[in-house]
């Protein structure tokens, strides 16, 4: 059976490789993909939308409907991860809590779960955690603000340079995940808790769909950002650029929240007590 599967796989691969010889040359201006709508985008997108990055104008404006449902797919991924993995009753096999006395490095194990020390010298740690490492923590603490600023830059600057909501949102989520890895999961959750994340992931999709519905209310088509000029103090071309920025911000919020939800639920098996 395994040999048969190997033969079928090799045959399929050979046919696929053979089929690539029929492909148009890379960058061929006469390729079918470059004849239909691409010339229009290349010639007129800057004039029509006021956004220098053609990719962003295609993704967020000409093909805005598509991107909206991509954001919805991301939202659904986070939702299903939450529904499948999250465990709410925490009575199962708790082994107490661990605290580390920072000046001496001694770890104290409390058998009860309800111990809560709020002292500067004591630090809550995970039971499986590696020893205290000053370098990792300091590097994490120094890096996180810069990563977050870079994420915000990528979202806000998506109209002019490569980047946009998806990438910026992932970078913002990466900063929180770095916090969860270098410190521990509880520190990350105390900075941005579960309820906020749920609200943010829905809010991102809502911003996107809301901008689309706003265009409907202003007697345009769905996601027809040019109609936003009626309520914004700018012309219709600038309004399209601003509409794209709003949509990108929505995508960024949704992606950031969903990535953090997925990470927290996978790393802690849905218990949210300790993770990677």
């Amino acid at each position: 059976m395994k040999k048969l599967a190997l033969i079928v796989a090799i045959l399929c691969g050979a046919i696929l490789i053979f089929a690539t010889s029929e492909f148009p040359e890379w960058g061929d201006p006469k390729a079918p993909a470059n004849l239909h709508v691409s010339p229009h985008y290349i010639k007129y997108s800057v004039k029509e939308t006021g956004v220098p990055n053609i990719v962003t104008s295609v993704l967020a404006d000409y093909r805005g409907f598509d991107t909206m449902f991509e954001t919805t797919v991301i939202f659904c991924a986070g939702l299903s991860c939450f529904l499948l993995l999250r465990i709410f009753n925490e009575q199962t096999e708790e082994q107490g809590v661990y605290y580390r006395h920072m000046p001496t490095g001694i770890v104290i194990h409390f058998k009860r779960d309800d111990v809560d020390i709020r002292d500067k010298d004591f630090e809550l740690i995970d039971s499986k955690l590696v020893p205290y490492d000053l370098i990792i923590k300091t590097v994490g603490r120094v890096m996180i603000p810069f990563i977050q600023i870079f994420g915000l830059y990528v979202i806000a600057h998506g109209d002019f340079s490569p980047g946009g909501g998806f990438q910026g949102g992932v970078i913002l989520a990466a900063s929180i995940i770095l916090l969860a890895i270098t410190f521990n999961l509880k520190t990350a959750i105390s900075k941005i808790n579960e309820k906020t994340l749920g609200v943010l992931s829905a809010l991102g999709v809502f911003i996107y769909a809301g901008i689309g519905c706003l265009c409907l209310l202003l007697k345009g088509h769905f996601l027809d950002y040019g109609k936003l000029a009626k309520i914004l103090p700018v012309g219709p071309i600038k309004a399209r650029a601003l509409g794209m920025l709003g949509v990108e911000i929505g995508v960024g919020i949704a992606v950031m929240a969903v990535m953090i939800i997925i990470y927290i639920n996978i790393a802690s098996e849905g218990k949210h007590h300790e993770g990677l």
């Binding site: 980047g163 998806f166 990438q167 970078i171 990470y263 996978i266 990677l276």
Partner: protein, 80 residues
């Protein structure tokens, strides 16, 4: 320039084949991250900078972290 393309394509194939043959799942996750990063470099060479950026952040960054987190909670060895 085509030598660089060839080297990167060879590395991509090595990473992809390694990712499905290695028994250690943590190594597989790292190799998949390397594979994504090589794809990112290839896309950047071809001029698709937006796609390269997405691949670098989502493929090489966050999905590797997800794999490592899943391995941390399950097992590091494959059964087959």
């Amino acid at each position: 320039m085509w030598i660089l393309d060839l080297i990167i394509l060879a590395l991509i194939i090595v990473c992809a084949v390694g990712a499905i043959t290695i028994k250690d799942l943590l190594g597989t996750a790292i190799l998949l991250g390397a594979y994504s990063f090589m794809m990112c470099v290839l896309w950047a060479i071809m001029g698709a900078v937006d796609v390269a950026f997405t691949e670098a952040s989502v493929g090489a960054g966050v999905s590797t972290v997800f794999f490592v987190a899943a391995i941390f909670r399950t097992t590091r060895r494959t059964r087959d």
